[in-house]
Point group: C2
Chain length 292, copies 2
Amino acid sequence: MTINRFILNKQKLIDKKLIELVEELEAPSLLKEAIEYAIKAGGKRLRPILLMSTYEGFSTELKKATHPAVALELIHTYSLIHDDLPAMDDDDLRRGQPTLHRQFDEATAILVGDGLLTYAFQLISSSPFLEAEEKVYVIQQLSQASGVNGMVGGQYLDLKAENEEIEEHELSTIHIKKTGALIQAAIKIGAYLGGATPPQIESLQTFGYYLGLTFQVQDDLLDVEGDSNELGKLTGSDLARNKSTYPKLLGLQGAKDQKNQYMDKAKEAYLSSNVDQPRLLELINVFGNRSN
Amino acid sequence: MTINRFILNKQKLIDKKLIELVEELEAPSLLKEAIEYAIKAGGKRLRPILLMSTYEGFSTELKKATHPAVALELIHTYSLIHDDLPAMDDDDLRRGQPTLHRQFDEATAILVGDGLLTYAFQLISSSPFLEAEEKVYVIQQLSQASGVNGMVGGQYLDLKAENEEIEEHELSTIHIKKTGALIQAAIKIGAYLGGATPPQIESLQTFGYYLGLTFQVQDDLLDVEGDSNELGKLTGSDLARNKSTYPKLLGLQGAKDQKNQYMDKAKEAYLSSNVDQPRLLELINVFGNRSN
């Protein structure tokens, strides 16, 4: 199976589960409509794919990975909804559709975000497929990665860095928190639930570290060179907001070279983990060369 | 010890623990400053007091209740920060001080809220004082109570009911979700961790149900009859926002009668639980007759 077909199959599976689990959710009907709008807008589902692919490097009992994969995507979705708000990045389009606060209103967008984040933890704590110890591990990883020393902290630093001159090491700190932490959590959770040894988890965490940076450099490059139709959002927004990006700091070619270095380091870390899951190697290329 | 002294002692203990645990949190320094502002603004700490008092009806090993009590207050604090936002209740004052988005900015307020909610789950999942099964129970209760079928759903319905004519049963549904669910969770968590039997938990849940309604009717009454200095926020805001409230639906005397009925039902439920914790009885009066 090609990697593209593999990804497509996983996306379908994740979409189906996400929609199923959100449909189970009891909520006031209009609020639920807004939640479904957010979920059904689609997305690349790269984080849950990464979690499941890592898990499958160790185990074939697929059920265990499903709820954590969905919870991860719920957290990612909430973060996009809050990041898009007028007080934050003030974006009108997401995945080719009006952002949630544009389609509904700001209050609804804030509450849908809060609700999705909360549901992630409800889903894990109530999962029939996980032991108590596993639930605790997953919740620990997700909450650390998405909290004030992870994703929320990264978004804060990112906002505060607008119109500021920052250096490359500060830029990578922002992205390790904002994007990298959740990518690393995806991989650690997949590895742990699959039964990886602690040294394997450590190598794979390093793999996730460089994969996260690869993802972000490509994100910056797409904002310069990407096709806004394919991206489902406008390009050039980093420049418009005067954001520090890799192309701005290193030049276009410099950013591409940096990305290739990160991809090499991710490959190295994968190889040192002694996991036999070539999909992870292929995913480095997907992260580094994606067009949306 | 009088109930007021009892509450004061508990408040001190909770404030100390809250501040300690927030100081441990790693976060970008300005974001952390905003978090500390939110936590140090104080508060009645009624939910954690309720959790700890219920727990103490069953057990004396106090450590177990501390992290859940703090997590509960983190969730309550996050909900106030988000509710105060311009897109929601648009409040300028909270506990006599500028609301977080007034003191800092809107983006910071959104992210502090997100961060506190996330930290609640991180704190429980990493607590050294709880077994895995206990962590899972606490996280289940907190996430259900604060999610889209609980607090977040209640806030949504409350916002949508502005300028609408609603009936008493709709008003109580809003408040059971918005305020009652977390109050019930406080009691259930305290009882469960202390070792209550399932029938005892059930009776205490009913106790929490009526306690939550008592709290809310008094909240509505204070917005009409309260002292804004003592409350630390302006009175009359419900009227200004054309919100449905108990005094509006039932008249001032009608609302007071309703409150007394709820207090009687809470007392009844407490008695049927066969728990020997008279502080819970005293807390009914505190909830029903508080002046802030």
